[in-house]
Amino acid sequence: MIARAEMVNAHHWRADFPALDQSVHGNPLIYLDSAASAQQPASVIDTVARYQREDHSNVHRGVHTLSHRATEAYEGARDKIAGFINANSRTEIVLTSGTTESINLVAQSFCRPRLQPGDTIVISHLEHHANIVPWQLVCEQTGAELAVAPIDERGEIDVEAMLALIDDKTFLVGISHVANALGTICPVERIIEHARAREIPVLVDGAQAVPHMQVDVQALDCDFYAFSGHKMFGPTGTGVLWGREDLLDTMPPWQGGGDMILEVTFDRTTWNELPYKFEAGTPNISGVIGLGAAIDYLRDIGMQNVAAYENDVHDYMVAELAKVDGIRLVGEARRKASVQSFLLDDIHSHDVGTILDHQGVAIRTGHHCAMPVMQYFGIPGTARASLALYNNREDIDRLVAALQKAREIFA
């Protein structure tokens, strides 16, 4: 149960997001595509614009006032990120361009130099392409192998099978915290505990978790945690790799360039300390500062409140969708967050998407960058509605009405 006060607040939250206040094809916009990318509160948009109007300059190497201000704001955002996920230290927060870069960084810098033919990287069948393809590439480069844990009809990982795949040949385990196509909350705690006992590092892809629940990397006890700014109400082009300091310390740099070095000579170049060793070149200064503002926004609300409120809307969505004639829910895991995939009669999901859009309801259709999930279910794609803290039960009612309309057109 959600307290009345929180419901009221939720109304208020929605008003914080300017993009939601518009019509599409003559109907008020209902945005149910936050798993692809979330909208931004005005505070984030304004923080970025204000930064550019007043404080912009390059960071780290400047003595003048603007450079100092930019550096303070940029590094201040790193502190906020560290606090938000309860990192042990700000030196563990590597700023990247997104989850995708974060995972590629680990594949290339942590794995590639050490992987041996016959080693395995263990992932699940539920993963986003960002948590598949970087491992395929590094496996091809090194002769290692990808081992994939199966899933079941509900869209849950077969945990026992996954644990059985984690053996002495396993170099690293990659697992999503929340699966993007189906919304499954994966049993990361159990997998991490099992891997930790065998001293095998675990990377958690948290792109779909961080916007919806409290994440504490120390409590999770994983080794790497990757996520994106744009899915948590921050700007595109920002992302985070959190890594345990002792592991980051042993890794060679990822890209070469300015800022990641202490000294460059043609004979010998020495790397900068953490986290700068992994941050070559001018970073996405305004984007990271915007991400800091997004974190301020979320902290003010409190992730507990976000999770409680969203769970309520999520459960309502699942129940209401289940009642629609001709619907087939895809992904019915027992623990789920913020996402529901489905098929409607034999209408192609792309057509469903167009008809909904015409009624102002924005959903995503297709494979959701999780083709293996679609292959498992033997379908080319799904229609997917996904939630953020600005959605409410009325949005779900609008979604359901729009689906009825689609059935009429294709009747």
């Binding site: 192609h348 792309h350 167009t354 008809i355 080319p380």
Partner: protein, 148 residues
Amino acid sequence: MQDLYRELILDHSRKPRHFGCLEDATHTADGINALCGDRLTLYVQVDDHGLIRRSSFDGSGCAISVASASLMTAAITGLHVTRAASCIDEIAARLTEGAASTGVSPELEKLVALDGVRRYPGRVKCATLAWRTLQAALNNAGTPATTE
């Protein structure tokens, strides 16, 4: 919405004509629409005179792309390959530039049912997929046609 999902479109998407593999095809190509995951394989049988004797397709796709493929395979049967190539251009222009609502080649008369797509720019790629794939097949290109 009815301008997009006209009866003819819904009919062809529910009961696509020329659906299935053509064993004795002389030209084939795969087409992929990364946007919605449409995939089709096109089979074309061209005789020694350059005439398209038969064509068919299989795969899966949205109503628009299936109807477009169904209508196309009907339209190109009996055409010379050079004529088919000019049809590809005509359709592409018609759908993307919103050109010439008036005036359409007789072979393409039924394709006018796709005109509604113009008002749904996100769906143009669905309507043109079959045609791009035809282009790839006639060029004997080895890589799949895409709509990016």
